[in-house]
Symmetry: C2
Subunit: 246 residues, 2 copies
């Protein structure tokens, strides 16, 4: 097994354990966009499901295909993921068609619609978990964006449960860095098969990405430290207003 494969497997174990992602006999739906992240997620979860992760669980992948999707390098990824022993279901959804009159398509709308389909599918199978491919860099970028745009310290959670829904969203790549995923897909000879669309500008996220690179100089250790920081608020050294202090 290549070093990078081992490293990601280890980091996934760490996330699964630290954030209590899997319980015995969980059925897990993987959100499979075809991008690097979801390919790495699918590969590693498939190996763990097959090779006897400490608790047994079952998985399958779901690819939500939109009405404006274009696949510059084809959709061979469906077969590749199946070759890893995963059942892959394709759900067609008319993201553009669902827009209300006068509303413009954007990334938020598209991702919400896709997530909705995943959730419906999860409900139909009684799955306990939906696994998404977000990695450590995504989580840090979201934290920085939420600070600057919303004035709050918050981010997407490695494990997110809902009061209103029976499933829990898990992000097993929470401890894995973007650069590691890139190394892995390169090592595996995989391409990114993700749908490319003209809407993908998301300049706030791009700004957050540049900020993260400036701050860490791309250092993996510094990004790890930032991720640890998210669970490590030192309240004594965070400003509180007088009224809160009392």
């Amino acid at each position: 097994m290549a070093d990078i494969e081992k490293r990601i497997a280890r980091k996934m174990d760490k996330a699964l354990l630290q954030f209590g992602m899997l319980k015995k006999n969980d059925h897990v739906i993987i959100g499979l966009s075809g991008g690097k992240d979801s390919l790495a997620l699918s590969y590693h979860l498939a190996r763990k499901a097959a090779a006897g992760y400490p608790v047994s669980f079952t998985i399958e992948a779901v690819h939500v295909r939109t009405d404006f999707a274009t696949y510059p390098v084809g959709d061979d990824f469906l077969k590749i993921v199946e070759s890893w022993g995963l059942k892959v279901t394709v759900i067609d959804v008319a993201v553009e068609d669902r827009l209300k009159e006068g509303c413009k398509l954007n990334c938020w709308w598209c991702s919400t619609q896709r997530r909705l389909e995943l959730a419906k599918y999860a409900g139909s199978t009684g799955a306990a978990k939906i696994a998404l491919g977000h990695h450590l860099d995504d989580i840090l970028e979201t934290f920085l964006m939420n600070m600057a745009a919303r004035g709050e310290m918050s981010t997407m959670l490695p494990t997110m449960s809902y009061d209103r829904y029976p499933y829990t969203v898990i992000r097993p790549l929470a401890w894995t860095q973007k650069a590691e995923i890139e190394d892995f897909v390169k090592e595996m000879g995989l391409e990114s098969f993700a749908c490319s669309c003209e809407w993908d500008t998301r300049s706030p996220r791009k700004a957050a990405r540049r900020a993260l690179e400036e701050l860490t100089s791309g250092s993996a250790g510094k990004k790890d430290a930032m991720f640890r920081a998210l669970s490590n608020p030192v309240n004594r050294y965070l400003p509180v207003t007088v009224s809160e202090r009392i």
Copy 2:
């Protein structure tokens, strides 16, 4: 009064109030380096002390001069600050001389030595507060640095009290942005008189500064939001490990 002067005066009021910086009859020692920040701080605190801030307080400024200080534009700032009605005391300290054999001078050592002298002086006068010129950008940069270097969410506080010391450090410019201070000193025709030294590399802070600019695109609104975020941790959207969750 120029708009920028009013704006800073208002923002200082906000910080003084929100973080409970001043109590009736406090004596305040201002740390006066001669840089833009401490000049703006001195000017505005002097006005508030003279013009009847809701609670009455007294102030004086202290300039700690080091043995390796060079003042490229002279030390006229001492007279300028005195012209604002402030008593200015100069304390000479042998920062370089105090170094132990084999230790290299650095910014941390220098600032610690200078702070020590300020603290001693505050003790000798029975001052309740030491006011420092750190502004909003400084606080945000420190937050980002602490995340990446220490793995914790923390920063320097607008109001910092100590168990071991009788005085409290206050940062009345906590809500004031660096760009506003720059506008102010320009408007006032002041120069930065701060000691320039060859040690001022501090690359982690420079990286944090670039990260902050990337993230906010220099937007004052986004920096304000980030400062608010420091008092606004949304615990539901911050990762906790399973053991903490239980």
